[in-house]
């Protein structure tokens, strides 16, 4: 199972792995969440977070400007700083691996900017909303592009995202539907690339990463299906957006492509034991979006925590990013609940990590 990486892994990546394991120790535990949930104000939350990894980032925020979104920004900044520190400590191929992790955020940022400019928002304002992990030079110039070809030719040809664009170089105009299709096509190419990269790394890395990436692929497949129900997307187009791997590939995907309402989706998923948790939640109501997200987040956290059970692989970096991201989402949820005085719902949105 371990191959030979035990022999040489620590010489190259031992320090970075030690760092990330140390950082994992700083993740909030269930009891800390319970304490956070008892907070009355955001000030209380800051006091409670004082001794965590967020303490330093929050200390210099003036009390009057402490809002849920400011808290979220500060927390995200700690995550970004941690990831950048790890990136600085990494040698090849770990550095490539860490770069690949951030590509997903790049895709999201590109989509955000393009939709933003469609709605004629200010570029600077949009740039502030971008995830800092997915920023690249000349990202601002995306605003000029009128269609996909221009998008590619002006800007993205210089970025690492360029290869992913080969699938969506049609000259179609940028409308919301096309952007969404572009996002999913890009993501599909990205996941393929990431999977083949970790395959190349071999050993425990590829073992863990193939598992968690196929989960990611399945998740995207299901979300695409549900989101495209009732839109003008044809079955074939929908199929094209599905990833080329994952537990649902290919039979489940074929079946999902033909679905026309949530009941059908549920029927398809029921035949896959891995998604029993998902299907049981789906039966509740039509507004499954948020609920479905939480189920997936919980599943993802469970898998990511598992990454730390093995040693000598890069999966821990991916897993740490996912866990910390989830933690920050939790903090955002808690702070929103605290700020809006909606404490009865506070426990609904938290995905416990430990």
């Amino acid at each position: 199972m371990y191959g030979w990486e035990a022999l040489y892994f620590n010489a190259k990546d031992g320090y970075a792995e030690a760092l990330v394991r140390g950082l994992r120790r700083g993740l909030l535990t269930a009891s800390e969440y319970t304490q956070l949930c008892q907070c009355e104000t955001l000030e209380d939350m800051r006091l409670q977070l004082q001794n965590t990894s967020y303490g330093a980032a929050l200390a210099n925020e003036p009390a009057h400007s402490l809002t849920a979104s400011a808290l979220f920004d500060r927390c995200t900044r700690t995550l970004v700083e941690e990831m950048q520190h790890l990136r600085c400590q990494a040698s090849q191929p770990l550095a490539d691996f860490l770069d690949l992790i951030t590509r997903g955020y790049m895709i999201d940022n590109v989509v955000l900017l393009v939709t933003g400019t469609l709605r004629e928002r200010d570029v600077q304002e949009l740039l502030e909303k971008c995830h800092p992990l997915g920023l690249f030079d000349s990202i601002g110039t995306l605003a000029v592009a009128q269609n996909m070809r221009e998008l590619y030719k002006f800007v993205l040809v210089d970025t690492p995202l360029a290869p992913y664009f080969s699938e969506c170089l049609s000259c179609e105009d940028l409308d919301e539907m096309n952007i969404e299709i572009m996002r999913n096509t890009l993501y599909k190419a990205y996941l393929d690339d990431f999977a083949s990269f970790s395959e190349k790394l071999g050993g425990a890395t590829s073992e863990f990463m193939s598992e968690i990436l196929s989960f990611e692929a399945d998740r995207r497949t299901i979300t695409i299906t549900i989101n495209s129900l009732g839109t003008e997307l044809t079955r074939d187009d929908r199929r094209k957006l599905y990833s080329n791997f994952g537990t649902l590939y290919p039979q489940g995907q074929l079946a999902l492509a033909t679905c026309e309402d949530t009941d059908q989706v549920r029927n398809v998923l029921e035949s896959h034991s891995a998604f029993s948790a998902v299907t049981s939640r789906m039966s509740y109501s039509e507004g499954t979006g948020a609920l479905l997200d939480k189920v997936f987040f919980e599943e993802e956290v469970k898998r990511a925590v598992g990454a730390f059970e093995m040693q000598f692989h890069y999966g821990v970096f991916y897993a740490y990013l996912k866990l910390k991201e989830q933690e920050i989402r939790n903090l955002l949820w808690i702070s929103e609940c605290v700020a809006q005085d909606a404490k009865d719902r506070i426990y609904d949105g938290i995905v416990y990590i430990f």
């Binding site: 000030e43 006091l47 200390a59 210099n60 030079d137 601002g140 110039t141 605003a143 002006f154 210089d158």
Partner: protein, 847 residues
């Protein structure tokens, strides 16, 4: 004084009942005394659910403001005056209001200043654009006039292009595409009515200029012309307010769509656009306008800046005082949060540890506090009986501190157990010096450490992690250097060369005392004899005559090896005796009899005996009757054939190893010693757990009888009798302990041989550097080479010997203390006394 350090201070658990109105004052006074460790009585409460959470939050907010001020002051390059303490301290509420006021004032001043400086830098940028872009256009004008002259001469000029607008723009294109000048001129002239060229001017960051150009090219499909000029020096960015490298650009384009694209791109790369009039006259007019406004702005900016500086420098005077005050307040409220609050909120209850010696100071502080706050009820101070282990507290000074730290790094002493730091003060530098023995190197180290010690006040402000580590150990280094000089004297080495402080030698050539050793052939054969006139060995240390002889290494090796073993045995024995001191102090007779006595016997029977033999061999040997016994063999055969020292074959009656025999009766003595050792092992192993088990059973039986009586009475019955008793645990623990000791006796003694090994390595390395670098250089008799070789030698001495070797000797000395010495008696499972003290709190805040 020394006895203070021998055992930790006696502690008592105290309870304070504080009336609510004097609680704050009392805690403040206790913080000043710094001799009371508060226990957290609200450990189950979250940080914000505690009584004084809101005050802590207020203090945090004030600290944030103070940090903001400090940052602003540092940016403005104003010196923060040190703690003056002269000002009347504000009340906390008053200070909060004052800080708030100052913050708004400062923020307002900042935003005004920002606005002004923003327009200022915008104007500066505009000026730059006017200057640089004006340059482009001027060049173009010159070109156009020359081309026009040429064209006029040819008389080919179409009428339309004589208007000044296009004729300024088109030659610019021409200057870029030299070859096709005339054709373009013509086409440009004809198209001038339909597609007038427009342009955009502005500044872009130099680092982004390339990307900007590339994107522009792509976005307009090459239908544009870009001219850029780098600005020498840095330009202040209006938005960011920092100075950056910038480049002026002019983009020419055709058509409205290109224009929108370019404007968007400018926005995206963060380029600042500025208007630029085509007309020369308007250009110069604008230039004058800009200059005028810049002058005005300068005046306003300066005034604003002066005012802001005034505010800041006023702040700087009292900033340190305020920070100290707020830091103290925050610490007080943190401590108050540890107190449990009475239901009626009339009083607070504190529990904590206090050294018995400081009781007077603590009660005094409490009394003063209740007097000053004129509370109706005075604070109640009472001692609580407890079974909990108290914290460990040593009163150290600046010399003993470092040695206490060396011990604490291994483990904090259990309450009232013997503190190895007392012995470490001498043994640590000594063992270091045994490994680092060289007079010259010791001297260098002495110079360095005395520098640290003499200038310690000045150097205490240096903020460098590595230097601070060395600085903290300055007294240890000082002692280490002095001991190194002493051992260097004993080894008689000065940068590896022997010193002849007491004459060149006390030995002479046997055939002719006046002959130098180099020509003494008899000496090489039979050895030298002691000088009959002096008839004593060399006064101190090794006779210089050994240096450079063939047998030098054999001699020093044998000496250093034996010396290491003896020193090891002495230190380990001292450790075991310290365990006896512990047993006596804790009245643990069982361990005294079942651990201390067999341990001493065991170690003495094996290595004590060896040390004795070594010393005997040193003392008894003479030239006429040398002792030839090989002590390795004596020890080995002591166990291989006990009682039969010379391996006498019982059948042939021939001695197989007669070199083992050292004195008569050796066989019997050794047989007895081996017997003692064999007895000691089960003695250490079995009786203690068995007796403990029996005691426990008796206690249990007694416990049944006592059940009727009160619980409190049974608590004075025995030590730890009520703790859970698990026989197997104790037995396993004892087995481990015994094995550790028995194996450790051998391995620890062997471990002390590192003294010899490192000393040898040090001597050899310094000899190599001396001979192979310095002496080699000198032998070449070329001054340049000598200087170069001296430099190399000095570098090697500093880098390898003074830095690396000393570090390795330090680590080995550390190990000998932590493992070989301390495992004989030191539990090290206590916890430190951390008093609530303002001095500590403020030093953590770097105030």
């Amino acid at each position: 004084m020394v006895m203070d350090l021998f055992r930790s201070e006696e502690m008592m658990l105290c309870q304070l009942i504080l009336p609510a109105d004097s609680a704050h004052e009392t805690i403040t006074k206790l913080g000043e005394v710094g001799m009371f460790q508060f226990k957290d009585l609200n450990a189950d409460k979250t940080a914000f659910a505690r009584t004084y959470a809101s005050q802590v939050k207020r203090c945090d907010e004030m600290l944030r403001k103070l940090r903001f001020f400090a940052e602003q002051i540092a940016k403005a390059d104003i010196m923060v005056s040190p703690k003056a303490g002269v000002q009347r301290p504000y009340e906390l509420d008053e200070l909060e209001g004052k800080l708030h006021e100052l913050e708004t004032e400062l923020l307002e001043a900042n935003s005004n200043q920002n606005k002004l400086s923003r327009s200022h830098s915008e104007l500066v940028e505009l000026q730059l654009v006017l200057e640089k872009a004006g340059g482009f256009f001027e060049d173009a004008m010159r070109d156009v006039s020359s081309i026009q002259d040429e064209l006029h001469a040819r008389a080919h000029l179409p009428d339309g292009s004589s208007s000044p607008g296009p004729s300024i723009q088109t030659p610019l294109l021409n200057s870029a595409t030299d070859g096709a000048a005339i054709e373009l001129q013509e086409t440009g002239g004809m198209a001038s009515n339909s597609a007038r060229l427009g342009f955009v001017t502005g500044l872009v960051l130099t680092e982004k200029a390339q990307a900007f150009e590339r994107v522009l090219f792509r976005a307009t499909r090459g239908n544009m012309f870009l001219k850029m000029a780098h600005i020498d020096g840095l330009v202040k960015d209006p938005v960011l307010g920092t100075k950056l490298e910038k480049t002026v650009f002019v983009v020419f384009f055709a058509g409205e769509r290109a224009r929108t694209k370019i404007l968007k791109l400018c926005e995206a790369v963060g380029a600042n656009r500025y208007p630029f009039p085509e007309d020369r006259a308007r250009q110069s007019q604008m230039n004058a306008e800009v200059n005028g406004r810049l002058r005005e702005l300068h005046v306003t900016l300066d005034a604003g800046e002066r005012q802001r500086e005034h505010v800041l420098s006023e702040m700087a005077v009292s900033l340190a005082d305020w920070s100290v005050q707020v830091g103290r307040e925050k610490a007080v409220y943190h401590t108050l949060n540890k107190l449990s609050v009475d239901v009626t909120r009339a009083c607070l209850v504190a529990e904590g540890w206090c050294p018995v010696v400081a009781k007077g100071r603590v009660t005094d502080a409490i009394d003063r506090a209740s007097f000053q706050s004129s509370a109706q009820v005075s604070t109640v101070f009472k001692e609580l009986p407890t079974k909990e282990a108290p914290p460990t507290y040593f009163q150290t000074n600046k010399v003993t501190e470092v040695f206490q730290d060396i011990v604490d790094a291994y483990g904090v002493a259990r309450y009232r157990e013997v503190n190895p730091a007392v012995f470490t003060i001498v043994t640590f530098p000594f063992l270091f010096a045994v490994m680092f023995g060289d007079f010259g190197h010791g001297l260098l180290m002495l110079l360095f450490s005395s520098f640290l010690v003499i200038y310690e006040k000045k150097l205490s402000n240096v903020n460098n992690e590595i230097f601070n580590m060395i600085y903290a150990g300055r007294y240890c280094i000082l002692l280490m250097s002095i001991f190194s000089m002493y051992t260097g004297l004993l080894y008689n080495e000065f940068f590896s060369m022997p010193m002849s402080l007491f004459g060149s030698s006390h030995y002479v050539c046997p055939s002719d005392p006046s002959l130098p050793f180099s020509r003494c052939e008899a000496g090489a054969k039979d050895g030298l004899i002691m000088n009959p006139e002096l008839d004593t060995p060399y006064m101190i240390g090794v006779d210089p005559v050994w240096h450079g002889t063939k047998t030098e290494l054999q001699f020093t090796n044998s000496m250093k090896m034996k010396m290491s073993v003896i020193m090891g045995v002495v230190q380990m024995t001292a450790g075991i005796f310290l365990s006896a001191v512990n047993h006596r102090h804790f009245k643990d007779n069982l361990s005294m009899i079942c651990e201390f006595i067999p341990q001493v016997l065991f170690l003495m029977a094996m290595f004590g005996y060896l040390s004795l033999l070594i010393i005997a061999k040193w003392c008894m040997g003479t030239r006429e009757h040398p002792i030839t016994a090989d002590l390795y063999h004596v020890m080995i055969y002591m166990f291989l054939s006990p009682g039969n020292v010379d391996c006498m074959d019982s059948i042939t009656g021939k001695a197989g190893c007669s070199e083992n025999l050292m004195y008569s009766g050796q066989g019997g003595v050794q047989l007895f010693l081996v017997f003692v050792m064999l007895v000691c092992i089960p003695w250490m192993l079995l009786p203690k757990p068995l007796i403990l088990k029996k005691r426990h059973e008796e206690n249990m039986r007694a416990g049944f009888n006592l059940l009727v009586e009160d619980d409190d009475d049974s608590s004075n019955g025995g030590n730890g009798a009520h703790a859970e008793f698990e026989f197997s645990d104790i037995l396993v623990h004892q087995i481990i302990h015994t094995i550790e000791f028995v194996l450790g006796a051998v391995s620890n003694t062997a471990s002390y041989l590192r003294l010899w090994a490192l000393s040898l390595a040090h001597a050899e390395l310094s000899a190599v550097f001396w001979e192979r670098i310095l002496m080699l250089g000198i032998s070449l008799k070329n001054p340049a080479v000598i200087v170069a070789c001296f430099f190399m030698w000095a570098m090697a001495t500093f880098g390898v010997l003074m830095a690396m070797e000393s570090l390795s000797a330090f680590l080995h000395a550390l190990r000998l203390h932590w493992v070989e010495f301390q495992n004989k008696f030191y539990c090290g499972d206590g916890y430190k006394f951390v008093a609530f003290s303002f001095a500590e709190v403020l030093s953590e805040m770097h105030l």
